[in-house]
């Protein structure tokens, strides 16, 4: 397997409190894998997701590198003529300040094989550098770097705040296709309808013109997922995407994500506080705590032979349907 992205020694500090949200995290995300990032509040799991997507707030101080390897052979989107597909040529370099992704990202083509040197870059999201010790790499054309929306799809926890309340949902999905695939409105709307069907929304023809408030929480999250995958991204990031939903809808959304990731050959970063939920979906699980990567392993190893005591404590704290009820444990000790 090849790494889709390599995160090296990534540290993020939010300036307002100066506390490290991420501390020297290094990991590879393999192309095509489903990697779960789990942790409790303050573990840095969302910061990691936002850093990968280039969505960190302007004041964030970032150290380390995120290196991308974008496959040369693009999986062509069924609706996009080849001429409008993003042209990602094998090239590498730091991202220019105006780019939508973080200045720490590098893009590496699969060929040539030469890997870039790991340069300890210090930057902030505005693109200005700090410390003066940073050498800027020559910048590259926009299309050579991963774009949020085009190469990365992002699904947030709360679909109500990620959707525009006054725009029909079909248009919101079509907008993504228009912006990143260069399609016209009619084509984009046709694609949006197909996507609504793919995320299993009933009567896509009607939903196309529905407003978010007319949909349930689960339906809105399906719309958000349709928008996230509209441009055929290689990486789908789901950040607590099911946490605001009830158990039944959560299971449906997880099943949907699993199916779409398989159908489109996407790589999945699944961010969750719930180790049991993550385990139902992930090939590998990374455990974060207080901004540090505690443990990373195959799902089976993490569940059955956790190396770290903290991972074990998370597993033990899970209240499953086969666990001994606390009522009994209390009664026994009383």
């Amino acid at each position: 397997m090849t790494a889709l992205l390599s995160i090296r020694d990534l540290s993020v500090r939010y300036r307002r409190d100066g506390v490290g949200a991420l501390k020297g995290v290094s990991l590879h995300v393999e192309a095509g894998e489903r990697l779960a990032i789990i942790g409790e509040s303050g573990s840095g799991k969302s910061t990691l997701a936002l850093a990968v997507a280039g969505l960190l707030a302007k004041g964030a101080v970032i150290d380390g590198t995120i290196e991308w390897t974008i496959p040369k052979s693009q999986t062509s989107h069924s609706f996009a003529p080849l001429s409008v597909l993003p042209d990602i040529s094998p090239t590498r370099g730091e991202i220019e300040p105006s780019s939508p992704l973080s200045p720490i990202s590098n893009v590496v083509g699969e060929m040539p094989a030469a890997k870039p040197p790991i340069s300890p870059l210090v930057g902030e999201m505005s693109g200005r550098t700090e410390g003066g010790a940073v050498e800027r790499q020559p910048s590259h054309p926009r299309d050579t770097i991963p774009h949020l929306g085009r190469d990365i799809g992002f699904v947030f926890q709360d679909p109500s705040s990620s959707l525009d309340p006054v725009m029909p949902v079909g248009k919101q999905i079509a907008e993504v296709a228009r912006a990143h695939l260069g399609l016209g409105w009619p084509q984009s709307m046709t694609l949006a309808k197909t996507l609504l069907d793919r995320v299993r929304l009933p009567s896509p023809d009607a939903v196309l013109y529905a407003y978010p408030h007319q949909l349930s929480g689960g339906q809105k999250q399906r719309v958000a997922i349709a928008a996230a995958i509209a441009a055929g991204p290689k990486l789908l990031i789901a950040d607590e995407a099911t946490s605001a939903l009830d158990t039944i809808v959560q299971a449906e959304i997880v099943a949907l994500i699993r199916r779409l990731v398989a159908e489109d050959g996407m790589t999945l970063l699944f961010i969750s506080h719930d180790i049991a939920l993550a385990a139902t979906l992930a090939d590998r699980i990374a455990v974060l705590r207080h901004g540090e990567l505690i443990e990373l392993g195959e799902t089976d190893q993490i569940l059955n032979a956790p190396r770290h005591a903290y991972t074990r404590s998370l597993l033990d704290a899970h209240l499953g349907l086969d666990a001994r009820p606390l009522l009994d444990r209390q009664g026994a000790s009383a």
């Binding site: 009830d246 719930d274 032979a305 998370l314 899970h318 499953g320 349907l321 606390l326």
Partner: protein
């Protein structure tokens, strides 16, 4: 002994101009020191029942007997006095409290309003309440927004037990907590129940949590009781369609070596 008896409770709302039943002919009882869980998907009526029982909203039909008295017939001073015996803890204590108030202020209010302790006596009572929920008494001077989520939920529980209630409505009270903190809060609730004989109306979407702490369960679907019974028995062998769906949707941690 029955603490709360709810009979044929109904509440209708209008949605898109059409009436729909949020709660439809729901009846149940809770005994002293008993935990009754309300489970069900979003929109099944769990929180509406909680708000009806607390009389935050009024029902369209039905009867609520609390500590043997017709709770819906009470008003004014009689209602306020009885309300001291019926407390609540919600999912997000930050939303329930003034975030800039100190912990002491949050705990002082019920003691003052319900004439439980004199002004001179209250600081000591507050310290005792904090200790009872496993918090250091020095936390009293801290602002609500300064303390952790787990500490805030302990303060919410301290406030709830300040008036010595016989029933606490817990509406998704542990849903927003980290799993490590969640376990501690559930143990605290069980400990208080044993010591003070408090009954809980425990609302949760999480069957794992319900199974850990509840004696009995009511599974709701579209405002109606789909099934009810011993919590473990119902979860082990659900009979209703919604009960089966809830159990099937609960993530399982399949560990070969536990």
């Amino acid at each position: 002994m029955t603490v709360l008896a709810v009979s044929n409770l109904a509440k209708r709302y209008r949605r898109g101009g059409k009436p729909f039943a949020a709660v439809d002919d729901v009846s149940f009882e809770i005994g002293r020191a008993e935990t009754l869980a309300l489970a069900g998907p979003s929109g099944s009526g769990k929180s509406t029942i909680a708000r009806l029982v607390l009389r935050l909203i009024e029902p369209d039909a039905g009867r609520i007997d609390f500590e043997g008295a017709d709770f819906l017939a009470l008003s004014g001073a009689a209602l306020r006095a009885r309300r001291a015996r019926l407390q609540m803890v919600f999912q997000d204590p930050l939303a329930a409290f003034n975030p800039r108030a100190t912990v002491a202020r949050v705990l002082d209010d019920p003691l003052r309003i319900h004439n439980i302790a004199s002004r001179a006596e209250r600081p000591r009572r507050i310290a005792a309440l904090l200790e009872r929920v496993g918090l250091d008494a020095s936390l009293a001077s801290r602002a609500i927004h300064e303390i952790s989520g787990g500490q805030r939920q302990r303060v919410a529980i301290a406030r709830a037990i300040a008036t010595r209630p016989s029933l606490i409505v817990l509406d998704e009270a542990v849903s927003a907590l980290d799993v490590s903190v969640r376990g501690q809060i559930l143990e605290l609730l069980l400990d208080l129940q044993r010591q003070e004989r408090i009954a809980y109306l425990f609302i949760s979407h999480d069957l794992g949590v319900i199974r850990a702490v509840a004696h009995r369960i009511i599974v709701l679907d579209s405002g109606r009781v789909a099934e009810s019974g011993d919590a473990r028995a119902v979860i082990a062998n659900p009979q209703s369609a919604i009960g089966k769906a809830l159990v099937a949707a609960t993530p399982r941690l399949t560990r070969s070596r536990p």
